[in-house]
């Protein structure tokens, strides 16, 4: 197994019985599966079980994966399906109609213009060292998002799924996806703004 391999390579190796390849996939995705499961379930305590259950389903379906979608799209689709089943057993469901108001409503005056100046960020966040220091703050901000926004931000901006793939994995409309992504990103930006502006 190469030091850094793509998902499909690892999957191929895992199919051939390579334990290290499977472990590499688990290391890469397990935490994200827990995050997605938590968002869909609306609770943290069952998310680990759902993530483990997802890997079981992956193992059972290893030979059936046909590569019509990417491995991670397939993986997250299984996870969301499992999390929804688990939520249904608990008589819970997370609404994916955008219900939480956007953070930006209060930033504008009655004339629709900014109520206060948008202050430039003082630190050079494109600097690698500065960016690395900001990542824990970003992780915390994502963690504090409403469930539906969090899962969309994880899949679109961390996993890099396309908008269409996110809609497919979550079975949501393009309109709902857009609003949830917009609000989620604005929330995270607001958290960064509190940290970075005018320091």
């Amino acid at each position: 197994m190469a030091a850094v391999s793509g998902d499909e390579e690892l999957l191929g190796a895992a199919r051939s019985g390579d334990e290290a390849a499977f472990a590499a996939l688990v290391a890469r995705y397990h935490g994200r599966l827990v995050g997605v499961a938590r968002s869909v379930l609306g609770r943290r305590d069952l998310a680990e079980d759902v993530a483990q259950d997802t890997w079981m389903a992956v193992l059972r379906g290893l030979d059936g994966f046909e590569g019509r979608s990417s491995f991670r799209t397939w993986l997250f689709r299984i996870c969301v399906h499992r999390a929804r089943s688990s939520a249904a057993k608990e008589h819970r469901s997370i609404p994916f109609d955008p219900q939480e108001p956007g953070v930006e409503a209060r930033w504008f005056g009655p004339d629709g213009a900014w109520a206060a100046e948008v202050q430039p960020w003082t630190e050079q966040s494109e600097d690698k060292v500065v960016a690395a220091a900001l990542v824990p703050l970003v992780r915390q901000a994502i963690d504090s998002l409403p469930d539906a926004q969090r899962v969309v931000v994880i899949l679109r901006d961390i996993e890099g799924l396309s908008s269409a793939e996110v809609c497919d994995v979550l079975s949501i409309t393009e309109g709902n996806h857009r609003v949830l992504l917009h609000r989620g990103r604005n929330h995270v930006r607001a958290a960064l703004d509190r940290h970075l502006k005018g320091r």
Partner: protein, 92 residues
């Protein structure tokens, strides 16, 4: 996030509401043109858009969560059991 664009100019509130579609590349060309025109003359909205771009870039740098050794050990153990099953008993 329904935004009606009246006339040729848009308000800052409307500009911000359009930014996700703009960044996703899904904004219809007419609205894209209006947004760009607004951005050229509005330093606040331009700054906001840059901050959104930075935010997306930083979110993309969030790595995988730490995986507890116990969870990894459990899953690799399950993997071993699946791997070592005889081929005609795929789901025991």
């Amino acid at each position: 996030m329904s935004v009606r664009l009246l006339g040729n100019d848009i308000l800052c509130r409307q500009a911000v509401a359009l930014m996700t579609e703009y960044l996703e590349g899904t904004l219809p060309w007419r609205e894209r043109r209006r947004l760009r025109r607004h951005l050229r003359r509005c330093p606040n909205c331009s700054e906001y858009l840059e901050q959104l771009r930075t935010t997306i870039s930083l979110v993309g740098q969030v790595g995988p969560d730490h995986l507890p050794d116990q969870a990894l050990a459990h899953l690799t153990d399950v993997f071993r059991r699946y791997r070592d099953l005889p081929p005609d008993q795929p789901d025991q």
